[in-house]
Amino acid sequence: MSPDLVKPEVLVIDDEMQIRRLLRFTLEDAGYVVREAETGHSGLVAIAHQPPDAIILDLGLPDMPGIDVLKRLREWSPLPVLILSVFGQEGSKVAGLDAGADDYLTKPFGGAELLARLRSLLRRAKPAEPASTVRFGAVEVDLVRRRVTKDGRNVKLTAKEYALLRLLVAERDKVLTHRQILQELWGSKLAGQTHYLRVFMMRLRRKLEDEPDAPRYFQTESGIGYRLVSDAS
């Protein structure tokens, strides 16, 4: 965080005191202002009262399901939301993402991972100016001229491959669910046809990854969707 900027504010909605305390620890160290809420209701009230820059929402709250908090929030606010869930709740993660959450983390997670997700969340929430070219690794995508190069060499993509790439680039570092991608590229009539997606993703990887079998950028989130990791180190 650059010191000249106003410190971004994060609201943590979690009923576990220890988790809140450690999140505060991690986030304040990274230059965020942290507010806390213990329940879904108090969280919603806090957001309405003074909207934060981002929200970290636990899916398992004592008073109401986290997913309901999210749905009610989305009725009136597009604020970026990162949901926290525990192992084995793939279904609720997908439901959360489809209900409008921007990303998810599975407990236990690392601090670095949390900060990276939060950074990309905030970056998207405040788009400086729409970048005309996006770079990841040796790949450069020129969104204006619809040109994709790898190591400076032109890569030929079909229209659908390019549409998929453009969607991933526009939402880079954010997880996109299968349903979201399918809806965007093929419309609602192909909502269940994930094999389309797999096939096109395989083609993109072959064309753009150094090692298609161990992709660095086009990452699979098993059972959830895909994520384009632009700052893979």
């Binding site: 084995g88 279904g91 299968h178 094999h195 797999r198 096939v199 395989m202 079998d213 098993s222 059972g223």
Partner: protein, 498 residues
């Protein structure tokens, strides 16, 4: 020996034989009348072999009279017996009586043997039919059909339930009316035979035999014999009772088997519980101890050692995370809480996701991936498959020397219409003693190596079965172990290029 002559025919035969001898004697010279006395005696003895006790006696009397009246001079009149003739006549009766008795006894014996043989055959057939069947239901059905055939009857079997209620077995061919049902229930309660041919409710349609084993009633066998059937002999009744006893034995055997099965299960679950407690407490407490002492030391330490301690904490949490995930998975599998969400999966996708999740565990290893370019997508639950591959890779990393390479392959098994995904290592292979229990829970590859819950492969198997697949393990000659998971090969509609 011929059998089954009716009494009337026996008398007819007696009279016929004596008439024949008498006619022969009539035409013989009178002076041979003595010899004809012996011929009559011979005829009586021969008749003994063929007819019963009373016909033989009749034969003796009639032949004595015929001899005196017809053959002995003066013919066609009764003559006064002299001493010799009297002796012959006396001998007749004595011989006829003794021979008749003997014959009767032999015949009774023979009849008895025949019935015993019949009964033995029936029971043998029953036993053979019963042992051939695998389940109690099949065996009971076989027994009832056997009874139907043997007694030309309709049968029903009522089995004693939990609270002493009688439940009609659905292999029964006889439908019990309300009345019959009450008779059967009385028989079951009292443990006494009831119904038709008995003193209790003799006007009932069927015969009700309680099946007793060691004083308790296991059920009631109901036999509905044809309307004209007569239950005259005790042997017949014994046969019914033997039949009922045989079925009772069968039910008891089945109940004992179920009980011992339960016992075995209990013992096994007891062993599992102890192992579970031992290894879970070990697996949970070790990283907890590390966390605690590392946290305590963080306060006191400065510089590079703090970094080391932080690393220890991370390793310990990773281990805890894995143990908890495995325990949760195993529990979810056992409680049937895992409902696979099948969707199209790409083998490369799954493998790369699993490798990413494993992180440090595969450090320093060469993982070669060999998947044909035309490898099709297949239906599976991606997170579950990721767990499967993670467990297999973790297992391979754990039981093979550090730095030894791993090979991941995938393809289509055309012949069995399934896809496979195999992970081969170059370690020591699976020890032959482990082969049978590889996928059982709480079995570790190296029992002396004191870590791990032994759940990894059991979870792999559970997850694969839940998705309609399977897992197999073998040793590659001279190379190492190979674990192969299989899934059904499903075709999807083609994907348009655009």
């Amino acid at each position: 020996m011929p059998r089954g002559l009716s009494p009337f025919r026996e008398y007819l035969e007696v009279l016929g034989v004596i008439a024949a001898v008498t006619i022969a004697g009539w035409f013989a010279p009178v002076r041979y009348y003595h010899a004809f006395g012996h011929v009559y005696l011979l005829a009586v003895i021969v008749l003994c072999l063929r007819v019963g006790r009373w016909p033989v006696l009749v034969a003796a009397i009639v032949s004595g009279l015929a001899w005196n009246y017809v053959i002995m001079p003066p013919r066609l009149s009764f003559s006064v017996l002299d001493f010799e003739d009297g002796m012959i006549l006396g001998t007749y009766f004595v011989v006829a009586l003794i021979a008749g008795q003997l014959t009767a006894r032999i015949r009774a014996q023979e009849r008895y043997e025949r019935r015993r043989e019949q009964r033995a055959t029936a029971l043998f057939d029953l036993t053979r039919a019963l042992t051939g069947e695998r389940t109690l239901d099949e065996a009971v059905a076989a027994a009832l059909r056997q009874a139907d055939k043997l007694f030309s009857a309709q049968t029903a079997l009522l089995l004693a339930g939990e609270q002493g209620t009688l439940q009609l077995h659905n292999a029964s061919s006889f439908h019990l009316s309300e009345v019959e049902r009450r008779v059967a229930e009385w028989s079951g309660r009292s443990g006494l035979i009831a119904g038709r041919f008995t003193k209790v409710s003799p006007d009932a349609e069927a015969l009700h035999l309680p099946m007793l084993r060691a004083g308790s009633v296991l059920g009631v066998l109901v036999l509905s014999l044809p309307a004209d059937a007569a239950l005259t002999t005790p042997e017949q009744r014994e046969l019914f009772e033997a039949f009922a006893a045989q079925i009772a034995l069968l039910i008891e055997r089945e109940q004992l088997r179920a009980a011992s099965e339960r016992e075995k299960l209990l013992a096994e679950s007891d062993r599992l519980h102890r192992t579970l407690l031992d290894s879970v407490s070990h697996e949970l407490k070790t990283p907890l101890a590390v966390l605690r002492s590392a946290a305590e030391n963080l306060n006191k330490t400065e510089g590079a050692r703090r970094v080391d301690l932080a690393g220890e904490i991370l390793t310990a949490t990773g281990r805890l995370d894995r143990v908890v995930a495995n325990l949760l998975n195993q529990t979810r599998l056992e409680s049937g809480a895992i409902k696979p969400q099948l969707d199209w999966c790409d083998a490369r996708d799954l493998i790369s996701a699993a490798r990413r999740g494993l992180g440090e565990a595969l450090a320093g290893r060469q993982v070669r991936i060999d998947i044909p370019a035309d490898m099709p997508l297949f239906m599976a639950d991606a997170p579950l498959m990721e767990q499967v591959i993670t467990n297999l890779l973790h297992n391979a990393a754990r039981y093979t020397p550090a730095g030894s390479p791993l090979l991941v392959t995938a393809g289509v098994d055309e012949r069995n219409w399934r896809v496979f995904l195999a992970i081969a290592d170059s370690g020591p292979g699976i020890p032959p003693t482990m082969k049978g229990q590889l996928f059982q829970k709480f079995r570790r590859g190296n029992e002396t190596q004191g870590s791990g819950l032994g759940l990894g492969l059991s979870i792999v198997r559970g997850l694969m079965l839940a998705q309609g697949g399977d897992v197999m393990a073998d040793n590659l000659p001279g190379k190492g172990a190979r674990f192969t998971v299989y899934l059904p090969h499903t075709l999807h509609s083609s994907v348009p290029h655009e």
